[in-house]
Structures are given as C-alpha cells and as structure tokens.
C-alpha cells in the first residue's frame, strides 16, 4: 500500500467518530491536505487562516468543549509559529490544571518534501528530535504503513494530545501493509 493511501484510510477511520473534526489550511481547498482528506465530508473540515498559534488555540478550545480535533500543518517548519500554544498551553494544560482539563487533539506535522522541487531552508526542516524532548505528550514519527496504522490507532484512543510526524517524501512510496 502507498504511504499516502494508508494515511487517507486512517483519516477516514477517525472521521467515523462524531467528535472528530479536521482543521488546518488546505483541508477544504487546494491539496485537501495532500489528498488524505479528499473523501472526508466538508462539514467535518474547518479551513483556518494561516495563523498557526490561533490554529492550535482553536483546537485546544474545541477539545475543551468535547471535540477531538485533527490539526493539519502544511509543513513541519510552520509549527514553530505556534510554539506558545503548543509548549506553554497544550503541553501543560493537564498538569497545570491538576487534571481538571484535558486536551485530546491530534496534530499532523509532516516534514516537507525535498523532491521533485527542492524547497530550501524554510520548507524542509525536521525538528522531530527536539519535539520529542520538549513535549510531555507522545510524538510519533511514522516512516512505514505499519507505523502509520499503529500511531493513528493509538492517537484515536488517547485523552492527551499526540503529534504525528509524517514524511512528505514518502507519500508515493509503496510499503508492505
């Protein structure tokens, strides 16, 4: 199975849950999140402005009211703009509120592709190593179809946030199921 197809299947499984809602840019337009949200009903998708800190805050707020947001970042590089919402808020809500509030959201943070177009220094960075250190919640790197299935299956059940780091370069690659 293709890596991209495996993600698409996981998105459709997540969409079965009525609490799940997809946010980000290009979730309703353009690439429809690189084809992985192509068959998700439009009413389950919220196109956001390119305001990364706001995007994470919106998801935190939605999760406090019972939704389970799946947030798509077009590229890994752009999450640095959202670090206040991610580090000072999302990561600390459960401990800071002594368990009163939880924020179960799934963040997709793909590392940008290097081919066929080589995008240069601001569109292909990979912060996986430091993100795993800085967050208390799980950060999964998915490099095979098997890892995709495992990561999204776990994430669908968690009450805590989860970040899943896809690799855009792997989208067209075939892997054993």
């Amino acid at each position: 199975m293709k890596y991209q197809e495996a993600i698409k299947i996981e998105m459709e499984k997540l969409a079965q849950d009525e609490k799940v809602i997809f946010l980000g840019y290009n979730v309703l337009h353009g690439s429809k999140a690189y084809g992985t949200l192509k068959d998700i009903p439009n009413e389950k998708c919220i196109e956001t402005p390119v305001a990364e800190n706001l995007m994470v805050g919106l998801c935190i707020g939605l999760s406090l009211e019972g939704f389970k947001p799946v947030l798509f970042f077009e590229r890994h590089d752009f999450i640095t703009v959202a670090m206040d919402a991610l580090i000072n808020h999302l990561d600390k809500i459960e401990s800071m509120s002594r368990g009163e509030f939880k924020s179960p959201l799934i963040i997709r943070a793909p590392v940008g592709a290097t081919k066929p177009l080589y995008p240069g220094p601001q569109h292909m960075q990979d912060f996986s190593g430091i993100l795993k250190k800085i967050f208390h919640f799980p950060v999964y790197e998915v490099k095979t179809v098997k890892e995709i299935k495992e990561a999204y299956e776990k994430a669908s059940k968690f009450e805590s946030p989860v970040m899943i780091i896809e690799r855009k370069d792997l989208y067209p690659e075939e892997f054993p199921d």
């Binding site: 919220i46 402005p49 305001a51 800190n53 706001l54 994470v56 805050g57 919106l58 998801c59 935190i60 707020g61 939605l62 999760s63 406090l64 009211e65 019972g66 939704f67 206040d84 919402a85 000072n88 808020h89 600390k92 401990s95 800071m96 509120s97 002594r98 009163e100 509030f101 250190k133 800085i134 208390h136």
Partner: protein, 228 residues
Amino acid sequence: MEKLFSKKFEEMSKEEISDLKQKLIEFESSIIKLWENAEIPYPCHFSGGNEEQLIEIFKEIKPGDWIFSTHRGHYHYLLAGGNPEKLKEIILRGDSMHIFDKNLNFFTSAIVAGICAIATGVALALKKKGSNNKVWCFIGDGVEDEGHFYEAVRYVDGWNLPCIFIIEDNNRSVETPKSERYGTSEISWPRCVRRYHYKAIYPHVGTTKWIDFSKSTGSNEKIGGPSF
C-alpha cells in the same frame, strides 16, 4: 462558605453590592497578609481597585458561560462563584497564576495573550453546538501589544463567535505605561473587545513591602517546567 455571595448580582441592592466589594477586598487582604509573612513563596499578582467594574461585568455572565482569566485572577474566580477556601488552598500551593475549575468553566493562563486563541476555540465550539452560552476572556492592556490577540479578535469578529474580550486597562504592562510602549498609538478594536479602566492599587507582582522568602519552604505539590 460555598461562595462569597448568594444572590444573583442583578438582584442585589446597593448595600449588598457594597458588601460584596468589601468581601473581595477582605479576601485579597487576607492573602496579602500571608504573602507579606513570607508564607506564600510564589509570585502573586494582587487584584484591587477594580471591584465595582468587575461586579458590573459579572452581572452579564450566566451559568455555563466560560471565563478565561490571567495571572491576576483571584477576583475573577471569586466572582465566578469560586469557593474562597478552595481559592486560598490553590494560592497556598503556588497556583495563584494557574486557577482552574472545570465545574465553573474557569480556565487561566499566565502567558500574556495565551488564552485568547483558546477562548476563541471554545467560542467556536459553542457556536457549532448551537449553545446560548458565551466566553468571557479577561486580558490586560499588555495583551493589546501581542500579535496573538489580533489573530483571535479577527477570527471572533469575522465569524461572529460568542466571545467577549475584556481589556482590564490599568495602563501598565508589568510597570510600563502605554505611551512608553507604543507611543501615542490607540487602536480601535471591533465590537467583541470591551475595555474598562482602573487604577491598580498594587504593583505588578506582590506588594510594595520587601519580603525575605529565603527561609520559606512552600508546598509539597509544586509543579515546574522542563529544562534542556
């Protein structure tokens, strides 16, 4: 004592409102006494000087509404119906800047402008659910200096979300007045942003008294942040 008051604010007489104002001041004074005795070795940002303005705003806040508060949140919590004894415990364990109460939909962040996007997300959820409840997001005038505020205001205004930002304007970001931060610039925000002015009684943090905290041990329930 469950909470500081038993009646709805709009049903209170002038005397009862004045009594409530006095109770707020007495609560904060009792905490200040402990702080000045070095019994609370944590940063505390004391409220004072805005009792009447806050009571007026809280008349509009209904059960089920969300309240987002700041590093200076004692009065907000008490007026939201928080239990004063519980608040005292929260403060004594070092959480003055981190007051949370799920039963009251009460949420705090001590990062300037940090709550704005989250409050907006809750308002988006309420609108999607068709709820009649609202979100009340209290912020200082320092928040107007932060870009994160602009993103949230634009989104709330653009989608007509049930969120009201209330600027508690004491013309002070830490201790610096607006004129020294942004010159004479005044911005007009859309309708979802309200403002009240007040003159703060206490400095940004603590009181004007010099306290020796070197022998204070504090609570066993401290939580901290990671370092790398």
